[in-house]
Subunit: 138 residues, 4 copies
């Protein structure tokens, strides 16, 4: 956590009061926290756009009764070992599994890995969640 600095911004009275409602609704402690969050969100977006080193989570929903899909998922993750940090497997019901795969690496490489996993036969739904290594967000 870096050194804290202060700066002031000017804003229309009506816009500020609408913002204050939003801050309260979302459960933020104060305006500063809400604004820092909005800033960090834009910086995460920029890291992905610029193709920097990022972190992410690949979420995969699949039916483990489909022959081969679990093995292929595991095989692909081992193949991409340099980028896969760890994965967690959740048994949703008798058939449906949710797998969360935490990854890190260059944005384009992570996107390609996610595309590969999500397009596997037997995978019902997949999403890549873009986040950051956090290094530049302090």
């Amino acid at each position: 956590m870096g050194k804290l600095v202060r700066f002031s911004i000017s804003i229309e009275e009506g816009l500020l009061s609408s913002f204050d409602e939003l801050v309260q609704e979302r459960g933020y402690q104060n305006r500063s926290e809400a604004i820092r969050d909005a800033i960090r969100r834009q910086l995460v977006y920029r890291e992905w756009e610029a193709g920097e080193e990022v972190a992410g989570v690949i979420t995969i929903l699949y039916d483990h009764h489909r022959p081969g899909v679990a093995e292929t998922l595991t095989g692909l993750q081992h193949h991409a070992l340099a980028h896969v940090i760890v994965s967690m497997h959740i048994h949703l019901d008798q058939s449906n599994c949710l797998e969360c795969i935490a990854v890190r690496g260059e944005a384009r490489t992570i996107e390609a890995l996610a595309d590969r996993l999500m397009s596997l036969k037997g995978v019902k739904h997949g999403e890549l969640t873009a986040t950051s290594t956090g290094k530049k967000l302090t």
Copy 2:
């Protein structure tokens, strides 16, 4: 434009310098302008979520050689006259037309109208752009 007020926020030094880069990249005049923009963007999102009166633009790409599509598009717009403000038709080439339809009304009604127009046979691509009447954004 309402009365201007000032307030100050505290932020980590490193985060502020990354934000300053972003402000410059996007061509903002200063930090206040960039933060006001982020705030208004969240308020527009909330107006749509809450189903309030909103403004929007329905963008439709279609081939005017397809029989019936232009007539149906016009017919549907007249039918939804209470919500359609005006539309603009652009000839992209010999076949392709771009139509921008400015609309206003309750969010759910506007979404239903957009779905209706975008699913028409002959329409190649459609998007609903969510914006605001601006009343609460001052």
Copy 3:
């Protein structure tokens, strides 16, 4: 409009019946139309990703009482004449204006132009709607 071909796809019975509900809800005439729409949507996304020649609409909400904003908006559009096809100005109320600017050009150039217009002081909200010239969507 190109020559029509047919191909068949295999799908789980339950998935097909959920899809049929969706097709009806969205007002599609039949499954083919809904699937073609989904395909075209992905192709439009790919044109933007690949930085190809695209079409788009920049939607700008602003208060025309703010000194200078209308002139700057017009000035910037003339400056980007090669990319701006036409624009439409809507008077939402005494203060609020909605401007829809139809643009065409390389995806990265269009994005930069949109960023420039949306970050102008006095602009309350802006969105870039990504669509296509339609050439590859037949």
Copy 4:
């Protein structure tokens, strides 16, 4: 996995060949798999829109040196025990932690829980990944 049925769709020749390129790029085994994926993606979206029972992943990036944040995160998860299935904690570096929280429940409840966790002081970035319990996706 349900019983397989077949149906055929008609499509313009040019559109089909662009789609075939896309299928290959994304690594799909065949067109059917790519189309089923597009259909399931829309059905997941509809489950969230309709507020049905869904599954999701809340991804939280935070600095564990910030006093209280780890405890608060754990406390809130225990408080929402009915919705939190399991969570996984990844040490990205000396300070940065990534936490993936698998959740299930009604869409609006899950969204509220995610908002609560993401707005905590000390949380740098958070995302809610929307997926499905998979029950209707077979």
